[in-house]
């Protein structure tokens, strides 16, 4: 007997529903209501009415930052949303219902019983949620383990399937490693890859794509929003070019899905990679859009039980999929609100900092996603700035923060000198960022940069009017 939400007090059954974390300040730990029943069967019936009634109260309270209880000073400010996001409480609630014996734990591939049917229903509902955000047919969505797998499946899958047509692939120098490393792998299999240069702002020009297309080109793979600098590529125009030339167009949309409007029914994109954890969903789940018109075919990476029409075998993780579906559904509802908020945050930060000497925007402010803002503070090394900003979680293009000891390849490809790449910081805001956090950051950054410049020999030379480029460094 499923006694979820029920407990007994003074011989009467009560309903107890836990309040999501972000609402606990306002509503307490849980909501309770008596069923008035002593008999369990009757209490169960009453519960089924009371639970939705109590849960509906969660929705009416405006969503608040879940960390509101701890003050800014105590808690490290999270400005690394481009790296990953916390899972939205509403998503967690949905996911919880897909795990235990009481929940929908079944295998969506089980065709012979209700456990399987129910799981399949939720998986398909999630697929519809994802397709609604992107305006495509749900049958064009394939579940994967994340954007890395989607990129692998799209690029290797298309390159392999269409290799009789040619072995030339076009990409850019500022793609995510999940695309670049796949291309490197293809090179080992005798494919030829063209790595396009972005312009100084980080945009790949459609004209450059057009110019690079050859007779034997099978695939163009470019990202929609760059993960380091937030600049947006014109996938509409590039899609028109690839379609006219009968070349497959893959777009890595890990950073853009749910953040900027996208209409796959009107875009000439053939393959698109998605991730849930960049948009308040769980890690470990993603999707690949595979166009039906024109029909794109891929050679699978995984072989097995024939799930996802044989394109991606493996038991579907219901809870992950449901989480991704809910995250995409919420993103669809909140996109405009989220976007406005982020635009405002970026303005606050930029207006507070732009008068500093020797500060550079990496990428651009126009034509970019406001949740990713990449700045270089010349003569200050990025990792030391991160250390000085100790209550703020950000990332840097500095070599010192990477395992390879190389500065960001993205910033270098924009033509930024190495020293500016070393001096870069990526501020990435999101849904749970509060205005005070951004406001406080302005002064903290100003103070830290000025303190670090005080101890920087390069700043000293710059102040003395010495041209650093003319020095022969040891």
């Amino acid at each position: 007997m499923n006694k979820k939400y029920l407990f007994k007090r003074n011989n009467t059954w009560w309903v107890k529903v836990p309040v999501p974390l972000y609402l606990r300040d306002d509503m307490g730990f849980d909501l309770r209501k008596s069923t008035g029943e002593k008999d369990l069967d009757k209490a169960l019936l009453a519960r089924d009415k009371i639970v939705p009634e109590l849960k509906s109260k969660f929705v009416s309270v405006p969503q608040k930052n879940q960390f509101a209880e701890s003050s800014f000073e105590e808690r490290t400010t999270y400005f690394d949303y481009a790296s990953t996001t916390p899972v939205d409480e509403r998503v967690i609630e949905k996911m919880k219902d897909c795990l235990s014996f009481e929940g929908v734990f079944g295998n969506s591939g089980s065709r012979s019983h209700v456990y399987g049917w129910k799981a399949e229903e939720l998986v398909e509902e999630a697929r519809v949620n994802v397709s609604k955000l992107l305006n495509c047919d749900p049958r064009e969505i394939i579940w994967t383990s994340g954007a890395t797998e989607s990129d692998n499946l799209a690029i290797k899958g298309a390159a392999n399937f269409y290799k009789s047509k040619g072995k030339h692939v076009i990409t850019s120098k500022i793609e995510h490693k999940a695309v670049l490393d796949v291309c490197r792998q293809l090179e080992k299999d005798n494919y030829e890859i063209t790595y396009l240069d972005p312009d100084e702002k980080g945009v790949i020009s459609p004209a450059a794509v057009k110019k690079a297309i050859r007779e034997d080109t099978v695939l163009v793979s470019l990202m929609h929003i760059n993960n380091e600098i937030g600049v947006i590529n014109d996938i509409e125009e590039i899609g028109n070019i690839t379609r006219a030339n009968n070349v497959i167009f893959h777009v890595d949309a890990a950073q853009s899905a749910g953040k900027v409007p996208m209409d796959l029914s009107s875009l000439n994109v053939d393959l698109m990679s998605f991730s849930a954890h960049k948009i308040y969903g769980p890690k470990g789940i993603g999707a690949l859009y595979i166009s039906r018109k024109p029909r794109i075919r891929l050679q699978p990476l995984f072989h097995g039980g024939g799930q996802e029409r044989g394109i991606r075998a493996g038991t579907l993780p219901t809870h992950q999929i449901v989480g991704m579906g809910e995250a995409f559904r919420i993103a669809n509802e909140q996109m405009e609100m989220d976007h406005q908020k982020l635009t405002n945050f970026r303005s606050i930060l930029w207006n507070g900092l732009k008068d500093m000497e020797e500060i550079y925007v990496n990428g651009a402010i126009e034509n970019s996603f406001p949740g990713i803002f990449n700045l270089s503070f010349n003569f200050v090394e990025g990792e030391s700035l991160i250390m000085a900003l100790k209550n703020i979680a950000v990332s840097s293009g500095s070599a010192c923060t990477s395992a390879s000891l190389e500065p960001s390849y993205v910033l270098r490809a924009l033509g930024r000198p190495d020293e500016l790449a070393h001096s870069s910081i990526r501020f990435s805001f999101g849904r749970f960022t509060r205005k005070e956090e951004v406001e406080n950051t302005v002064n903290l950054v100003k103070n830290s940069v000025s303190k670090l410049r005080e101890i920087s020999p390069l700043w000293e030379m710059y102040q003395d009017g010495i041209d650093l480029d003319k020095i022969e460094w040891a």
Partner: protein, 140 residues
């Protein structure tokens, strides 16, 4: 990568109280500038530049480092390594200073292996500064 508390402390000490941590410089025209040796090592493109100055005095026929100043551009451990080097220099003879090895800095700060180059930079800086000081002497 997480640093040891020692790196963090040294870094913060330097940042928050630069004067006490011997951040600074002597420039031409300053008193005793002819007794200052300067060493600059690293390169901006590599993400590390260390500038070390030592002021020496001949005490009982031996040149001793009576004061030192530095400025460093680089990651937290590069800044901490230079601060640590400064602590080790003062009062030493040039010969003793020349013998300081980067391993001592690695041990004191518990530097992670990926950051050992920061301590090497500090060792190079003192060698350069000593060479510079000696070259000044020969010009006397």
């Amino acid at each position: 990568m997480a640093y040891s508390q020692k790196v963090v402390d040294k870094f913060e000490e330097t940042l928050n109280n630069p004067e006490k941590a011997s951040v600074g410089r002597w420039k031409p025209g300053d008193e005793d500038f002819h007794r200052v040796g300067t060493g600059i090592v690293g390169a901006p493109a590599c993400g590390d530049v260390m500038k070390l100055q030592i002021k020496c005095k001949n005490i009982d026929g031996v040149n001793r480092i009576v004061d030192a100043r530095f400025k460093t551009y680089g990651c937290g451990s590069a800044i901490a390594s230079s601060g640590q080097l400064i602590d080790m220099l003062k009062g030493k003879t040039l010969e003793e200073a020349q013998a300081i090895s980067n391993q001592e800095i690695v041990d004191i700060l518990e530097l992670p292996s990926i950051k050992i180059h920061c301590s090497v930079l500090a060792e190079e800086a003192i060698h350069r500064a000593i060479d510079d000081f000696k070259s000044l002497r020969t010009n006397d």
